[in-house]
Symmetry: C2
Amino acid sequence: MADTPGPGASEPSLDEQIAAYQREFQDLDPQVEKVVSALSRLNRRMHVAYGRQTAELGISNAEWEVLKALVLAGDPYRLGPGDLAKRLGLTPAAMTHRIDRMVAEGLVTRERDENNRVRVIVGITEEGRSKWLEAMRMATVFEEELLQDLSGEERGRLGEMLTRLLRRVEDAQPDAGGRLSDLD
Amino acid sequence: MADTPGPGASEPSLDEQIAAYQREFQDLDPQVEKVVSALSRLNRRMHVAYGRQTAELGISNAEWEVLKALVLAGDPYRLGPGDLAKRLGLTPAAMTHRIDRMVAEGLVTRERDENNRVRVIVGITEEGRSKWLEAMRMATVFEEELLQDLSGEERGRLGEMLTRLLRRVEDAQPDAGGRLSDLD
DNA sequence: TCTGAAGACTTCAACAGTAAAGTTCGAAGC
DNA sequence: GCTTCGAACTTTACTGTTGAAGTCTTCAGA
């Protein structure tokens, strides 16, 4: 009776969760579940951490994603909304709205392509670039702290295993297209 | 010139992305970035895959999350909206709406606690339980496929490393509360 | 018993995302 | 040189989430 935290209980620990799965669904491989659950929890926490950091810069996580894509695109630092949407995994409509807001905030510019007036080109402003840089600085501090318990060799092995998993999903889901387990 | 895929380019590969980071932001440790980027890409892909599977059952990913929380809670399979919200990382308001929809669809029940009439209790229905089970079956197939390239020993090492990272973030963010890099 | 404070949930208004229809321009065929 | 098709983006209507304000109940103190 001392072990039920009452009706105000919070998220169970990872091990508690695995134990619960074994109780309710015997077919589950606990080793697999541990990897999968840890992955998704980690991601949630990282998302929260990034959100706090970008908030200090007065931008949202979503806006940072756009800035990252533009900088990573390289030299002219310009991309069309459709391309941006693909890179961020959004619908074109969402991209339109996002760009609207970011133009209003002075983070990016939007102009029509002179050679093809149906096309639009989004570019990064000085302010956008400097917010991006600040966010990167904060992010790298966070990421270094996150991995501080892993040796260099462990980091390498971890990265290698994760990319192996990633390759597996990407093959099966060519561009958010296919499906991993063919269920239809 | 043959290497720019034109204005219709899609998401760059992980390695291309890392190379771009090194070009634009030298302070970045490529090993760290590889881990972090792979984590977030993996999560996006997994989310897409789960979404497809639950869609086949006529429920959303969000609804599956609620069903999972209820089943994992154990025996009476009942939780309050506030507790559910904490476990899923949502605001109470979002939880209210989500439960509305799920009650309408017959996946869960909502009743007032007899002993404390300000409290509400959400329980899972037969149908909810069976959708949960179907979703779990599909998910385990997917997860097993995802990890198929890793040996048993590798899976263990991966799970162990990920939980070490998770512990690090959770310590720093006690309940989505604290912050990892103290930036204020 | 009454009153005030705190807790648990809901309501409301605003915002972000999606799907589908709409608009506009460019290019290919007649 | 029209016309039609298709591509790229935007608009519209709807769904789901958030933050803040509101309601209702319990509990502690006067």
